[in-house]
C-alpha cells in the first residue's frame, strides 16, 4: 500500500462563541505554512503543493476547510440560518486554527478570498505571521455577477457556480486538473459559495488598511494569473502598489485557482514566493 504524504485530522475550535469542528490536512517538515482555499471550495485545492516532495522537505504545510466547506461541518443550528461569511469571522477562524495547531509565526498563503484575508491579517495581525503570499488577491472587487444566482430552489447552485468560475480558469490548464477544480465548486453546500462571495464582493475595508502593512517586518508577495478575470493582473497591481514594499508576479498561463488548475505551472511561482519570505 502506498499512501500520499498528506494526512488529515480534525481539530475543535471556537469562533464567535460557537464550536467548530475543522478538518485540517498537513504534510512535510520544516517551516510552517498555513494555506487558505478560495470561496466555494476546500482544502483539496492545495493537494499538489502538499504532496510535493521537494517543497515538503523544507516546509510543513497545513490547509484547512473553513466551516461549512469540505469536511468541516457547519456549526450546530446551521439549518435555520443564512450563511454569510464576514471579514471578522474569517480572521478569527484563521487565528483560532493557527492557535489550535500551535503554529509559531507561519507563512500565510491564501488564494482569492483567502488572499484577501491574508492581506487583512498582514494589516491587522502581522505579529502572528512571518510573511504573506496573497494569490489572486486584491483590495476589493464588486461582483460582476449576481451572487443570488448560486442559491435558489430551482437550480443547482454548485453546477452554476462551477460553470461561472470556469471563466477564471486558464485554457492552458490540464483537463484533469481543470475538472477536479470545478468539481469542488459543484460539491459546495447550498448557499456556501454565495455566503463566501457576500463578504468578498461587499466588504471594501481592506482598501484603507493596505497602507498599514509593514513589509519590512512581514514580507508580502502577490501572485496573479493572466487568465483571472475576477482578480485581474491590473487589480493585483493596484493592490501591490498600495502596499509599500510588496512584490508581485504575473503568471501568464494561469487563472484564479493556480495551485489547483495547473499545479506544474504554478509550482515555480510558489517556490519563488516561499523563498522571498525568507
Amino acid at each position: 500500500m502506498s499512501f500520499e504524504p498528506i494526512t488529515g485530522r480534525y481539530i475543535n475550535i471556537t469562533v464567535a462563541g460557537r464550536a467548530q469542528r475543522i478538518y485540517v490536512e498537513m504534510a512535510g517538515e520544516g517551516r510552517p505554512v498555513l494555506c487558505l482555499h478560495t470561496a466555494g471550495a476546500d482544502t483539496r485545492q492545495w493537494r499538489h503543493i502538499l504532496n510535493d516532495a521537494e517543497l515538503a522537505a523544507g516546509h510543513r504545510f497545513f490547509a484547512f476547510d473553513m466551516p461549512w466547506h469540505g469536511k468541516s461541518l457547519p456549526p450546530h443550528g446551521f439549518e435555520t440560518e443564512e450563511y454569510l461569511l464576514t471579514t471578522e469571522t474569517y480572521i478569527e477562524t484563521v487565528l483560532a486554527v493557527a492557535d489550535a495547531l500551535s503554529l509559531e509565526k507561519p507563512i500565510l498563503a491564501g488564494c482569492s478570498m483567502g488572499g484577501r484575508i491574508a492581506l487583512q491579517l498582514a494589516a491587522l495581525h502581522p505579529e502572528r505571521f512571518s510573511g504573506f503570499i496573497a494569490i489572486e488577491a486584491s483590495d476589493f472587487q464588486p461582483a460582476w455577477y449576481d451572487i443570488d444566482w448560486f442559491h435558489r430552489p430551482d437550480a443547482h447552485g454548485g453546477e452554476m457556480g462551477a460553470a461561472l468560475v470556469s471563466t477564471n480558469i486558464s485554457p492552458h490548464a490540464p483537463l484533469a486538473d481543470r475538472w477536479a477544480t470545478l468539481w469542488m465548486f459543484m460539491q459546495s453546500g447550498p448557499g456556501v459559495f454565495r455566503g463566501d462571495l457576500s463578504f468578498y464582493t461587499k466588504d471594501a475595508s481592506l482598501i484603507e488598511r493596505l497602507a498599514m502593512i509593514d513589509t519590512s517586518r512581514t514580507p508580502v508577495h502577490l501572485l496573479v494569473g493572466a487568465y483571472d478575470l475576477t482578480c485581474t493582473p491590473d487589480d493585483a497591481k493596484r493592490t501591490a502598489d498600495a502596499i509599500p514594499g510588496a512584490t508581485l508576479a504575473v503568471m501568464p498561463e494561469l487563472g484564479h485557482f493556480p495551485m489547483s488548475e495547473h499545479p506544474q505551472a504554478f509550482r515555480p511561482y510558489f517556490m519563488d514566493a516561499l523563498k522571498r519570505i525568507g
Binding site: 444566482w149 430551482d154 453546477e159 452554476m160 470556469s166 471563466t167 485554457p171 493572466a226
Partner: protein, 128 residues
C-alpha cells in the same frame, strides 16, 4: 460565420454528454456578430436549426453579441486572456449578453461547451 455555426451544430448533435447536459433546454439563442445575426433553436438539448437573421418575428431567450475578430480569437485553440470565455468577452468589452441572463446561467456549462465547439477539433479538423 454560418459555416462555422453549422459545423458546431454537427459536433453538438454528435456529442452525447453535451446533449445530456442540455436535455431540458428548449430555447432560441441569438448570436449576433457585427451586422450578422443567427438564431439557434435548441429542442431538448439538440440544436435543430441555425437560421440567419435578422428576423423581427423570432423571439429569443438570451443573446450573445460580439465582433468577428473577438469570436475568432475566442475560437483559437489557446485563446488569449479575456477571449477564452464568453463572460471574458463581456469583461474585456468585446461582447455583450442580453435577455434572460438567469436562463443562461442555469444552462451555463451547456452553452459554454456548445460555444467551445467552434475551436479546432481534437482530430485537427478546422471549423470554417
Amino acid at each position: 460565420m454560418l459555416e462555422t455555426l453549422l459545423t458546431m451544430q454537427k459536433r453538438h448533435n454528435a456529442s452525447p454528454h453535451i446533449l445530456r447536459l442540455g436535455r431540458l433546454f428548449c430555447e432560441t439563442v441569438l448570436i449576433e456578430v457585427e451586422d450578422q445575426s443567427f438564431y439557434l433553436q435548441f429542442r431538448d438539448g439538440q440544436l435543430i436549426s441555425v437560421t440567419p437573421g435578422p428576423s423581427a418575428k423570432t423571439s429569443w431567450r438570451f443573446a450573445l453579441r460580439t465582433d468577428r475578430q473577438a469570436l475568432e480569437a475566442f475560437w483559437e485553440p489557446l485563446p488569449a486572456p479575456g477571449f477564452h470565455d464568453i463572460f471574458g468577452l463581456v469583461k474585456i468589452g468585446r461582447g455583450r449578453i442580453d435577455g434572460d441572463i438567469l436562463a443562461l446561467v442555469k444552462n451555463l456549462r451547456f452553452f459554454k461547451e456548445f460555444m467551445a465547439l467552434g475551436r479546432p477539433a481534437a482530430n485537427g479538423e478546422q471549423p470554417a
